[in-house]
C-alpha cells in the first residue's frame, strides 16, 4: 500500500479500476452502487487535478509501471495534452452517473450492474489512454475501451443491438489489429522504442536531437515512416475518420447515456486524442511537414467534415443526426492537429510549427465534449419523457420541456460555433490556423461545415419552440424528464458557455503542452 501512496500518478487509474469491482460487489443495493460511481468520479477527478500546478509549470510527471521488453513498458505520464482528457473523463462520468440513474431507473432497464461495471471500466480505459507515456500503453488502454464497451452497445440484447455491436467490434478491433499493431511494430523498429517524445512537439520519436533519424533503417527507407503513419491513421478508427466512421452510427443502438458519455466523449475522444498524441508526440511537426503528411491528413479530415455534415442533414432520427455530427466534429480536432506541420510562417529552410491550428484542434477536444454530451443528454431526456426519436415529431415539444430544449439549443450553438459559446473559440483558432497554413480550401470547408451545422441543428430547436405540434401528438402527456437527468444536461450546457467566455481553462494546458508559455 505504501508503494501506491508514493506513486500519485497511479491514483486516478487505481480509483477508476477499483470502482467498477466495488460496483459489482454492491450490485444488490442500487443506491450504494451508484454512490460508488459518484465517489469514484470525484476522487479520480481530484487525483488528476492535483497535477494541474505541475502541468502548468511545464513539469511532466512520468512513471514506469512494468518493463516488458527493452523499450517496451507500461508507463504513465501527465502533460498538458493528457491532463485535458484525464480531467474531462471523470468529470463527465459524475454527471453521466446522475443522468444514468434517471435514465436507467425510469426505463427500468435490465442488467444495470453489468452496465455500471462496464461504464466504469470504459472510464478507466479513457483515463489510461490520456495518461499513456508510450504507444504500447496507449494501445493497451485503447483495447480495454473496445472490449468493455461491447456489452454497453449490445445492452438491449436484441437483434438490432447485436448487429450494431458486431459492426462496432469489427470496425474497432479489426482496424486496431490490422493496422495499429503493425504500426506499433514498425515504430519499434524505426525508433528503437515506443516512448513518446514528451515536452517537444517538433522532434517526434523518430528523430534524434541533431535532427537525423534514430535508426539506420529509417535513414535507408524513409518511406517506411509514411507507411507507419498511414497505418496509425487507419488503425485508430475510434477517431471516426472516413472511411472508418461507420461504426459510430451503428453504436447508437446503445442506451442514450452510453452514446452520450462514450460516443461523444470517452471512446471517440480516446480516438482523436490518440491521433493527436501520435501526430504531436509521435511523429512531430517536423516529420509531418517534411513528409507531406500534414496536408494529406487535413484534406482527409476536411472531406470527412463536409460529407458527414451532409449525411447528418438527411437523418431524421435525432441520435443518428447527432452521430454524424460527431463524425464531422471529430475531424475538426484532426484537421487542427494535422495542420501543425503546415505553415506559411516558415522562413527558408527552418520550419516553424503551425501552433495556432494545433491549439484550435486540441481546444476542440474539450469544447466539443461538453457540447456533444449535452446534446446526447437532451436526446435521452426527450426519449425518456416522450419515447420520441424522430425529429419531425418534436414540433412544439420545447414548450413542455423548456430546460431540456434550452440546453439543447445552447449546445447546438457550440456545434455551429457561434460566440460566446465554447465552439466558437476553437473554430476561430482553426480558421486562423488554416489561413496560417495558406490553405484557403480548408478554410472554405470549415466555413461550409458551419453553415451545414446550422442547417441540421437549427431546425430541431425551431421546431421545438415555434412549430405547432402534430395533430396526432398530445403534448399534455409530456413533461420534463426526471431531475437527475435535467440537472446534468443543463449544467454541461452551462459549462459550454463558461468555456466560451473563459477559454483559458483548457488553453493554458494546451499552451503548456505546445511550449507557448
Amino acid at each position: 500500500m505504501t508503494g501506491f501512496i508514493n506513486y500519485p500518478l497511479l491514483w486516478p487509474l487505481v480509483i477508476t479500476f477499483v470502482a467498477p469491482f466495488a460496483i459489482m460487489l454492491m450490485g444488490r443495493n442500487k443506491n450504494i452502487r451508484e454512490g460508488i460511481s459518484f465517489v469514484a468520479a470525484t476522487l479520480a477527478f481530484l487525483a488528476v487535478a492535483r497535477f494541474i500546478p505541475d502541468v502548468l509549470n511545464g513539469i511532466i510527471n512520468k512513471q514506469v509501471l512494468f518493463n516488458i521488453l527493452p523499450g517496451l513498458s507500461l508507463s504513465l505520464c501527465l502533460d498538458g495534452l493528457g491532463i485535458i482528457f484525464a480531467l474531462i473523463a471523470p468529470f463527465l462520468w459524475c454527471f453521466a452517473t446522475s443522468y444514468n440513474i434517471g435514465y436507467m431507473r425510469k426505463l427500468n432497464e435490465h442488467a444495470q450492474t453489468r452496465y455500471y461495471f462496464c461504464f466504469g471500466i470504459a472510464i478507466f480505459g479513457a483515463v489510461g489512454v490520456a495518461m499513456s507515456a508510450n504507444v504500447f500503453t496507449l494501445y493497451f488502454f485503447y483495447e480495454i475501451i473496445s472490449i468493455f464497451t461491447y456489452p454497453l452497445v449490445a445492452h438491449h440484447e436484441d437483434e438490432e443491438s447485436f448487429a450494431g455491436a458486431k459492426k462496432y467490434m469489427i470496425y474497432l478491433m479489426g482496424t486496431s489489429k490490422l493496422f495499429l499493431l503493425p504500426a506499433m511494430a514498425l515504430t519499434y523498429i524505426l525508433s528503437g522504442n515506443l516512448d513518446f517524445s514528451l515536452g517537444e512537439i517538433n522532434r517526434g520519436m523518430f528523430l534524434s536531437h541533431d535532427g537525423t533519424f534514430k535508426t539506420t533503417l529509417a535513414t535507408a527507407h524513409p518511406w517506411l515512416i509514411q507507411l507507419t503513419y498511414g497505418l496509425y491513421i487507419a488503425g485508430l478508427a475510434k477517431a471516426a475518420l472516413m472511411p472508418f466512421h461507420n461504426w459510430l452510427p451503428s453504436a447508437m443502438v446503445a442506451p442514450t447515456p452510453v452514446s452520450a458519455l462514450l460516443h461523444a466523449v470517452a471512446v471517440v475522444k480516446a480516438g482523436v486524442f490518440s491521433v493527436s498524441r501520435i501526430i504531436l508526440s509521435g511523429f512531430g511537426a517536423q516529420i509531418m511537414h517534411d513528409f507531406g503528411l500534414s496536408l494529406t491528413t487535413a484534406y482527409l479530415a476536411a472531406f470527412t467534415i463536409v460529407v458527414a455534415s451532409f449525411i447528418a442533414l438527411t437523418k431524421d432520427d435525432l441520435k443518428a443526426r447527432l452521430a454524424y455530427s460527431t463524425v464531422s466534429q471529430l475531424s475538426y480536432v484532426i484537421i487542427g492537429v494535422a495542420l501543425v506541420g503546415a505553415s506559411t510562417l516558415s522562413e527558408g529552410t527552418t520550419f516553424t510549427a503551425n501552433l495556432i491550428a494545433a491549439q484550435g484542434g486540441l481546444l476542440h477536444i474539450g469544447h466539443h465534449a461538453f457540447g456533444k454530451i449535452t446534446l446526447f443528454f437532451g436526446a435521452g431526456a426527450i426519449y425518456v419523457a416522450t419515447h420520441l426519436r424522430s425529429i419531425k415529431k418534436m414540433n412544439g415539444l420545447g414548450r413542455k420541456m423548456p430546460w431540456t430544449f434550452g440546453a439543447f439549443g445552447l449546445a447546438s450553438l457550440t456545434m455551429i460555433g457561434i460566440p460566446p459559446v465554447a465552439g466558437f473559440v476553437s473554430k476561430w483558432y482553426l480558421l486562423n490556423g488554416a489561413v496560417n497554413a495558406g490553405q484557403i480550401l480548408l478554410m472554405a470547408a470549415l466555413l461550409a461545415s458551419t453553415i451545414l451545422n446550422a442547417g441540421y441543428f437549427a431546425p430541431i430547436f425551431i421546431r421545438a419552440f415555434f412549430y405547432k405540434p402534430d395533430p396526432d401528438i398530445d403534448l399534455d402527456h409530456y413533461h420534463e424528464a426526471p431531475l437527475t437527468m435535467v440537472v446534468p444536461l443543463v449544467f454541461t450546457s452551462l459549462v459550454s458557455l463558461t468555456l466560451g467566455l473563459y477559454p483559458q481553462i483548457f488553453q493554458k494546458f494546451i499552451q503548456a503542452f505546445l511550449g507557448l508559455r
Partner: protein, 471 residues
Amino acid sequence: MLQETFSYPVLTALIFWPMVAAILLILFKDDEKVRRATFGASLVEIALAWPLLSFQKTPDFQFQELLPWVNSWGLQYYLAVDGLSLMMIWLSILTLPVCILCSWTYIGRRIKEFHICLLLMTTACVGVFSALDLVLFYIFWEVLLIPMYLMIAIWGGDDRRYASIKFFIYTLAGSTLLLIAVTALRIEGETFAIPELMTKDFSFNFQYWVFLAMTIAFAIKVPMFPFHTWLPAAHVQAPSAGSVILAAVLLKMGTYGFLRFCLPLTPAASLHFAPLMIILSLIAILYGGAIALGQSDIKKLVAYSSVAHMGFVTLGIFLFSVRGLEGALMQMLNHGIITGGLFMLIGTVYERSHSREITKNLGLGKNLPAFMFFWGLISLASFGFPGTNGFVGEFLIIIAAFGATTRIGGVDLPLIGLLTAPGAMLAAAYVLKVTLKLAWGQPSSAKNKYWKDLNLREWVYMLLPAVFVIT
C-alpha cells in the same frame, strides 16, 4: 548450492518417477483412490523438480547425467537441460496435475488405464526434452506416441478410431524420416551425442538432406501447413486431458526439434530453406486463422487456432533474428498455457452440455459467470490482447517480421510483417466470435439445473493458467 545438498540425479528421477508411479498404480482397485494416488504422484513429481530452480542463466547444458549405455554402438544415457528444455520440462510436469484434475469426472471408464497413460506420457515428455543422445531422444519420441494413441482411441469421441489412426500414421511417418536423419548423423558425425554433433561442420549437401528429413518429421508434429490435418481430428476426438497435453506439450516437441536439431546441426541448410519455411508459416497463420473462423465446433476452432499460433512460432524461428527467436520461445510457452487452458474450459462446458457445438453452448454469461470470466481472460490472451502473455510473444515475432524486408523490384518491402497483420486480425475475429456467442448467444442453452457454475476442483485447475496468463 541447492544441488549439492540434495544431490540426486534430478532428470532421471523426473523421467522414471512417473513410470514407477504408473506401475504402483496397478495395485489400486478403487477408482477414487487411483485418481488421488495419481494426483499425489504428480505433486511428488513437481517436488522432485525443485532442484531445477537452481538453474544458472547461462546457455550451457546443466544437470548433466552421462552414463555409458551400449558401448559397442556408442550409445550413451546422456541427459542435460538448457533454458529451452527446462522451460518445456516445467510445462510438461505442471500440465500433469492439471490434466488429472480436469479428467476427474470427465473420464468415466477404464480409469486406472487412463491415469497410467497420463503418467507414461509425462515420462516420455520429460525424456524428450532432456535427452542429449540422439537414440535416447528418438526412443522417448516414439514412446510418447503409444499412450497418446491409446488416449484418443479409448477415451475419445465418436470418431475416435479414425482420428487416432490418422494421428498415429502421420506422426509415425515423420518419425521414420527422423530415424533416417539420426542414422545419417551417426554415420557422418560418428557420434550420437548432440553437443558433440553441434561442433561438427557438415557439408551442405549432407545438411540439405538431413534438414529435409528432420524438418518433415518436426513439421508434422508442429503441425505446419500442409501436414496439419491430423491435428483438428485428434483434438476434437481426444478427451480434455489429451487435448491439453497435445496442445501444451506435444506440439512444442516439433518446434523444440527445430531449435535443438535443425538450427544447430544443419545451419546452412536451415538458412537455405528459411524462405520456404517462412512462406509455410505465413500460410499456416492465415489459412489456420481463416479456417478457424468458419468452425462451428469449439474444439475444432481452437485446434485450427493452434495451427495459426504455431505458425507464428515457426515464423519466429526461421526469421533468424534475436527478437524472432525470443518471440518464438515465448509464444511456445504461452501457446501451451493458453490453448491448454482453453481446452480445459471446453472440457468443463462439455461436461455440462455434452456437445462441442457453439450453438449448443450459447448464452452462458448469466448462468456461468466464473466460466465466462476464465474463458474471457484466456481468450483475450489467445488473440494477443496487450497486457496478457499472448501479446508479448506475438508482438516480438511481428517486430522481427517487419524487420526482415523482402526485396521486390528494387524496393525493400516489409512484406512478411504486413502479411502477419491479417493473421493477428483473424485471431481476434474467431476468438471474439466464439466468446461473444458463448457469453451472449440466444436462446441461452443453460436452462436446466445441471448447468452449475465451476466447482472448487474446476476453479483450482483453471487458476493455474489464469495466473500465468497475466504477466
